[in-house]
């Protein structure tokens, strides 16, 4: 690739990010879309809400699994959405007898999940409910993590599970264990492999970008909802570009 095309690609990338940001902010000014009304309903998250209410009613626990997002990797993005969703889920379950329990498979996510738990309880003035041991790093390799989180599913009086983060196929072990115990499982990941596995194993799988929409559907705030709108706008733009590019090639055009 020549230097001018590299420069052009870099500028195009920056313009893409800037436009994405502009659409997100424009949404805040014009109209914040409401999940379920302006945005299509997601069955998995609707059922998760129902499962949470039943969990609180029955005096049992919600288990949130944040996966193995690495700090220097794009996988961390879905972990960040998981953390935001966790904040909302703590608010929804804090009135229950047993607090939400979180498991993570990497150091940074472990630290951030503790911080998020603490912060969520503090926001609602329930500091006394915060226990550092409710956020655990259960293992540092994929299968060790699955084995440790599996122990939480089995021994912590869990009634509902929400897996949202970077997983590999080992997530099937967790979902299968939870399903065998009659626990509810909603799950999403950024990995295509994990999504394929979850489609077969999880009661309510989140496919594709639905995992990134989870926090917005749990009421995480305006910018989460407008970023879904920006994703939709740019998805249509990408579709138009791909179809246009294919037609351009079809008629014999080349750049």
């Amino acid at each position: 690739m020549t230097s001018w095309t590299t420069g052009l690609t870099d500028i195009a990338g920056l313009v893409f990010v800037a436009l994405f940001l502009a659409v997100m902010l424009l949404g805040l000014v014009v109209k914040v879309p409401r999940p379920g009304r302006d945005l299509r309903p997601l069955r998995a998250l609707r059922r998760l809400r129902q499962a949470i209410f039943l969990t609180v009613e029955s005096g049992q626990r919600l288990h949130v699994s944040l996966g193995r997002g690495l700090l220097m990797h794009q996988q961390m993005a879905v972990g960040m959405v998981g953390l935001r969703a966790l904040e909302r889920l703590v608010s929804m379950t804090a009135a229950g007898d047993r607090p939400t329990i979180v498991t993570a498979g990497t150091g940074p996510l472990g630290i951030l999940s503790r911080s998020t738990l603490h912060s969520a309880y503090e926001t609602h003035h329930w500091e006394e409910r915060y226990r550092p041991t409710d956020a655990r790093v259960t293992g540092l390799t994929p299968f060790a993590y699955a084995a440790g989180a599996g122990e939480v599913i089995a021994t912590e009086n869990v009634a509902a599970n929400f897996f949202l983060g970077a997983f590999g196929p080992e997530v099937a072990l967790l979902a299968d264990q939870a399903a065998a115990r009659g626990e509810f499982v909603a799950a999403g990941s950024d990995s295509v492999l994990a999504q394929a596995v979850l489609y077969a194993v999880a009661e309510e799988p989140l496919i594709g970008e639905e995992a990134f929409a989870a926090a917005a559907y749990l009421g995480a705030g305006g910018l989460h909802a407008t970023s879904l709108m920006a994703e939709d706008v740019f998805r249509w733009l990408l579709i138009a570009l791909m179809v246009g590019g294919a037609l351009f090639k079809l008629v014999g055009g080349h750049l």
């Binding site: 990010v17 997100m24 935001r84 594709g208 994703e231």
Partner: protein, 205 residues
């Protein structure tokens, strides 16, 4: 505002790294590299904190005599392998032996369990979620698996192995996977921008 210093640091560092990635300015590129090196050190420190967190949980179980044997064994394995890695070089027989005779067999065993779990889950799926998509999912999985196997005396199954399986894998499956990955990429951009705007702040007080 929650955690103003942490928020300012996250926005500043994120902004520098984003601009350093796109703009061909040597100073920005060097600064970006330096910040990423710091992040590597932080990630290593976080790994150590995670090991301590894991130990804290199992130590509590050990002292409370709740499945103390298992927790004791896990603590010995964790810190034993840590000390082994400190004392011996990475390519030494001791460290290689640890991987070869302990970690690898356990991983393979769990992979075996995973295979059984997945087969069972695939069978359960039709009962749990009957419908066109489940049928399509299972049929495709079966065709891909059959296309990858060779029958005794026949070899690869004609048409399935050389035509249908490659077409399924390279056209509808690859198209679907790319569509999903485009959605994931857009979600990742949105998440990054929310952090840059200070909307998502998982770093507490």
């Amino acid at each position: 505002m929650k955690a103003p210093v942490s928020t300012a640091v996250a926005i500043g560092v994120g902004g520098v790294i984003l601009l350093g990635y796109f703009l061909p300015v040597p100073y920005l590129a060097n600064l970006r590299l330096l910040l990423l090196q710091w992040a590597v050190f932080l990630a290593a420190a976080a790994l150590f904190v995670a090991a301590l967190n894991l130990s804290q949980h199992h130590w509590a179980r050990l002292t409370n005599r709740h499945e103390a044997g298992t927790s004791g064994l896990l603590l010995i394995a964790l810190w034993g392998s840590f000390v082994l890695g400190l004392v011996y070089p990475l390519h030494s027989a001791a460290v290689r032996g640890l991987f070869r005779f302990l970690i690898l067999p356990i991983g393979v065993a769990l992979l075996g369990v995973l295979t059984v779990s997945l087969i069972y889950a695939a069978l359960q799926m039709m009962r749990r979620r009957p419908g066109l998509f489940s049928v399509l999912f299972l049929t495709t999985a079966m065709l891909i698996l059959l296309g990858a196997t060779a029958l005794p005396g026949i070899g690869p199954i004609p048409f399935l192995s050389d035509t249908l399986r490659p077409w399924l894998a390279q056209v509808p499956a690859a198209a679907g996977a790319r569509g999903i990955l485009l959605g994931v990429a857009l979600g990742t951009v949105a998440t990054g921008l929310r952090i840059l705007l200070g909307s998502d702040r998982p770093y507490g007080e």
